[in-house]
């Protein structure tokens, strides 16, 4: 799994602030949490960073695969056990007697649910790893028996 430091290594490391962040490290963290996209760093598009740009584009969400919060579900690994559905704190808060109690979700506000035997994401912007007050929640990762969920 990628961390902010790895991303930082691939950035220009000049702290030019053209991206609107104070430092390249801050931009790396923002990239990790999907607050910004690779293209938001203008110098990266220069020729000398071509290789880094390509690498970064590769490790940061191949478009469409990851949700905005950086959450990727490897659907081919998921067995639909529902551990993540009941462990997710947002699911518990939104739907304590449905998803939070191990049963079928009864609210449209849940993030994780199982459809046709495989987990499906919705409302990802509510994920605790996303947005301003983000925390490093890992409820769905540690409870998954097949390691089908990953954050990039």
């Amino acid at each position: 799994m990628t961390n902010a430091l790895e991303i930082y290594q691939l950035l220009p490391k000049t702290n030019c602030k053209q991206c609107g962040k104070a430092t390249c490290m801050a931009f790396a963290a923002a990239l990790l949490s999907r607050e910004v996209v690779v293209d938001d760093c203008p110098p990266l598009k220069e020729d000398k960073f071509k290789e880094n740009y390509e690498k970064l584009s590769e490790i940061i969400t191949p478009a469409g695969e990851a949700s905005e919060s950086g959450m990727i579900v490897h659907t081919e690994k998921c067995i639909g056990c529902g551990n993540c559905v009941v462990a997710c704190p947002v699911n518990v808060a939104e739907d304590p007697y449905g998803a939070g109690s191990g049963n079928a979700p009864t609210s449209d506000n849940v993030i994780l649910r199982v459809e046709d035997g495989v987990v499906r994401l919705s409302n990802v912007s509510q994920c605790r790893r996303f947005g301003k007050n983000k925390i490093l929640c890992n409820g769905c990762i540690v409870t998954c028996p097949t390691k089908a969920i990953e954050f990039v």
């Binding site: 639909g80 529902g82 559905v85 109690s101 049963n103 649910r113 046709d116």
Partner: protein
Amino acid sequence: MENEYYVCTGCGLLCDDIEVELEDGKVSKVNNACLKGVARLKECNRPAECRIDGAPASLEDAIIEAARILKEADSPVLFGMGNSTSQAQKNAIEVAKRTGAYFDDTSSFCQGPVVEAILENKIRTCTLDEVKDKADVIVYWGADPSNSHPRHLSKYTYFPRGKERQRGWEEDRTAICIDVRKSDTATICGDKFYQIPPQADEELLNALANGLSGKVPKVSFGMGPKKILELANMLKKAEFGVICVGLGLVYSLEEIEPLVRLMDKLNEVSNFHLIPMVGQYNMRGSNHNLHEETGYINRVKFTGNDVEHGAHCSVVELLRARTVDAALIIGSDPMSSLPGSIAKELLDISVITIDPCNTLTSRKAKVSIPAATAGSECGGTAVRMDGVEVEFKAMTETDRMCDAEILERIMGEL
């Protein structure tokens, strides 16, 4: 939200919160069930065909032929049952009585001994709903529900909030796994995984009982007394404990006594229950139904009003000793599941299958009768792994007959 919930018949957990979408009268989408359940509830890839001696036949003829085989057989056996509704099982018992047949189910080489001990009140048990509301210590012994019963931890035991367990799994519950290998379930249990060598279960059962009695627990493999005492103490401190017994433990025990002794000891110093991890959706129902009728849970022979019981009546022994000359197999595929040397004996006798899907056994059978899939195409009742009776209704309509009805028709021809 207005929801209609169905029951999944994919395994002995009988999850009761399944939502389905239909298209052209068929189940097109199954929500909330695990992958295993989805596979069961959507139509099988190869539905069984109605055949006599390999040639297509009408249902009517197949039923008459099946009855003829059973009637003319000297020593028939009825086998399977784990994937049948309780009504079908009761009808099968009637057929066995009428034909003086042997009757056995897959529990004779699965959870049979444990269910028997529970039915005879030798082991304390509880329901999964109680586990969800109360359990703080959950032990999986020789079981890997992440593969066998995928929703076991999420629906009942470890992860859900329950009445007296409101703070979530991290704070409120401890899940322990004892197994010979680091299974997916063991991974979830993290540092509460206790690895033992194969066949060492009995030793650890005894060591734990000793530890709970204040003796120094010793085993011959590399697990020190300190580690065993740490485990014993976790069990002792439980407010409401449950041991979920998997086949790994059942297979390694020659007899069930060491497990009964540990449960007794645990209930002197703590509060413990046991639930067998029954595989097929109504295996436990078959045990209950036969027990009600005969006092035995499996492996019987009906002769007139008498019932004979014993290891020699198990399907494995019957085939090995070539005691039987015909078999009626319901919702089971012994050609694939029994050891090859025993399964091949089925090729030499007249086999009748009643199954929704085309299986190895149904392909080799003399008579193959297609049945509706219980759970999706026909309703009924079944007994969940914890002994709770669950009623279920059909999701779709079908022109295939339910196994209960087929057996009733065979009975009518006898």
